[in-house]
């Protein structure tokens, strides 16, 4: 029966079914390693979980965990707000910075092989822990700058007073000054966190055909014009990928205070509450990602039309 059904399929259909064979490991992996934990952690978030030596027990409690984190847990709400403001200003800065670095090492100049090798170092040091150890030590030993590689340190406020005063006296708006000093204070951490984004931009830049630039220069376009009219539009998909990567990467960082809260709840055996927090946080991030995705597909369509 089955054989006859297969033979009724056209040649191309049968060829295409091979695709499922290629994807079989991934699909099995999803069923075994993702689906079960995802469903389980959703049920955890609606129940009280107690773990014993022989296994675990869940007692359904409805929305109790969610009510707790929204109404009673002040730490969660403030940390989520803090995390979101950080995300909102850090993501664009990291994107611009990594684009700038990628353009820089995409040019041809003497010594660029060395420079390129150095610029790729943050990718190797993607471990927050190693940097943390070096950093905590640098602060102790030099006491010069409060520039924290990993987190926005508490003692940062003092060190940029000079720049702050200067800009304020120059008559620049307070909010802009605040933004600029925030960037300079965290420049170290920002630049060490933009390694992968730089790589993604670099590969995006390389995929732009050089003939476009040649045509533009024949037509008399300045380099700024060809940047605005060729590079930026061609990099839109890369930009989307990078924005999503930066947001996703933000919760794997060791400095993410929401994740720290979730981990500490797990460690104190409050599994139900921890998973509830995690899902609330993830849904909020998912909303941001959805907005990014929606906006970028819109601009893609309009730029094509």
């Amino acid at each position: 029966m089955k054989k006859r059904k297969l033979s009724r399929l056209s040649v191309s259909d049968r060829h295409n079914l091979n695709g499922l064979l290629f994807l079989l490991p991934f699909l099995i992996g999803f069923l075994c390693f993702y689906l079960e934990p995802i469903i389980q952690s959703i049920t955890f978030s609606f129940s009280d979980v107690t773990v014993s030596l022989s296994g675990y027990d869940t007692v359904p409690v409805g929305l109790k965990n969610y009510k707790f984190i929204f109404k009673e847990d002040a730490a969660f709400n403030t940390r989520v707000m803090l995390d979101f403001t950080n995300l909102l200003w850090k993501t664009p800065v990291i994107i611009v910075l990594s684009l700038f670095l990628a353009i820089l090492i995409n040019q041809k100049f003497p010594g660029r092989i060395f420079i390129r090798a150095v610029f790729f170092l943050p990718v190797i040091f993607s471990a927050g822990i190693v940097l943390q150890i070096i950093q905590s030590d640098l602060v102790v030993s030099s006491m010069s700058s409060g520039n924290s590689l990993i987190e926005d340190g508490g003692g940062v406020a003092n060190q940029s007073m000079g720049l702050n005063q200067l800009l304020l006296q120059a008559g620049i708006q307070e909010k802009i000054v605040e933004f600029v000093t925030k960037i300079t204070n965290n420049f170290f951490s920002l630049i060490w966190n933009s390694g992968i984004q730089m790589l993604i931009f670099l590969s995006g830049l390389q995929s732009i055909p050089g003939s476009l630039y040649e045509a533009a220069s024949v037509e008399g376009a300045s380099s700024w014009e060809s940047f605005c009219k060729i590079t930026v539009p061609m990099l839109v998909p890369t930009l989307l990928l990078n924005t999503i990567y930066t947001i996703v990467d933000s919760y794997s960082s060791t400095s993410n205070s929401v994740m720290a809260l979730i981990t500490s709840s797990i460690n104190t055996a409050k599994y139900g509450r921890a998973t509830a927090m995690a899902w609330v946080y993830f849904v909020l991030i998912g909303l941001i990602l959805g907005v990014v995705f929606f906006v970028s597909t819109r601009t893609k369509k309009s730029s094509r039309a």
């Binding site: 295409n16 994807l23 991934f26 999803f30 995006g204 890369t238």
Partner: protein, 320 residues
């Protein structure tokens, strides 16, 4: 206007252009030096501090060049990190899961890039889900899952289950099925790389009677070498430096290197490494030596392969 005037003005224009070019390259050089400083300073600091002797570490006159070199820091760090054993564990995890992930992710990426089958959209959604859902959310349930692992109920039919915790399999087994550490990103890299390759060669292979899997192995894989190198390096580095998952799944004596490094300062203190005044401050060289020992293997690998790596990144075409 005489011809001479015209010539002069052209000459001036050329000069102006040249001056602009020089100004740009000077600016570029300065900027590069600044950025290099930001990247190299912590690394140099780490290397130099780890070779300092206990006596000169608190000498304020010693800033860059140590007065006397010593291996005390390295020795202490190797002992307290349990270096050879934990590095061996990390190496097993890294190599095993990287090899597994290369196979499973390349297959999945090719399947998504070149075949149109019913339900492809759903597979894409699942893939994005694996990238976007933070693993931390699932830790509390994956911990229990890996403690009594039975392949989604398959093994429990026979009354069996595996305990994956505290063993490298906790990383390798998921990687075999494209569900390991950041494997979604690897599948995506392979997907966009295979998608960018020309169809003609595959068609030719098909006409010559080459089966689908043979085409994949003998025609497509050699063309996607840059993607393989990119994923190889990412996978090695990310597995070597992973802290969150390692700390969750390894809680006994033998733990991956990064987890040991995180606990190094406590271990040093407990291990009696302190100077006369008993301050932790003078433990700096042990900590820095520990950091250096941890990051050294991927760093050395990178130094030797960076040429291939940088070229591969450019050719992978991460964006489909």
């Amino acid at each position: 206007m005489s011809i001479k005037n015209l010539f002069d003005s052209r000459y001036a224009l050329a000069n102006k252009k040249k001056a602009k070019e020089i100004a740009i390259s000077v600016f570029r050089l300065l900027f590069c030096i600044c950025i290099c400083y930001l990247f190299l300073y912590p690394i140099l600091y780490m290397i130099i501090t780890s070779f300092q002797s206990p006596s000169s570490i608190e000498d304020p006159t010693v800033i860059w060049v140590p007065k006397q070199l010593s291996l005390d820091g390295l020795k202490g760090a190797i002992k307290e990190l349990n270096y050879w054993k934990s590095a061996g564990l990390t190496l097993t995890i890294t190599l095993g899961s990287t090899a597994a992930a290369l196979c499973s992710c390349a297959l999945a990426g090719y399947g998504l890039a070149r075949f149109k089958f019913p339900g492809k959209f759903i597979v894409f959604v699942l893939l994005i889900l694996t990238i976007v859902v933070p693993p931390q959310i699932l830790y509390s349930s994956t911990y229990i899952l890996y403690r009594f692992f039975d392949f989604g109920g398959f093994l429990s039919i026979f009354g069996l289950h595996l305990n994956l915790l505290e063993s490298p399999w906790v990383f390798i087994l998921p990687s075999m099925f494209g569900a390991g550490l950041r494997n979604g990103i690897f599948i995506f890299i392979f997907y966009s790389s295979f998608k960018g390759l020309p169809y003609e060669i595959e068609e030719a292979a098909k006409i010559d009677g080459c089966g689908v899997f043979k085409t994949f192995l003998q025609v497509m894989v050699p063309m996607a070498v840059p993607a393989f190198i990119t994923v190889l390096l990412f996978s090695i580095v990310w597995h070597w430096t992973d802290y969150n998952s390692s700390a969750t799944y390894f809680t006994q004596e033998l733990r991956p290197l990064v987890v040991m490094l995180k606990n190094l300062s406590t271990n040093l203190y407990m291990g009696g490494y302190r100077d006369a005044s008993g301050s932790v401050f003078s433990l700096r060289m042990y900590l820095q030596a520990g950091a250096m020992l941890t990051i050294a293997p991927p760093l050395i690998l990178y130094i030797f392969t960076q040429k291939y790596f940088t070229e591969s990144i450019e050719r992978t075409g991460l964006v489909g």
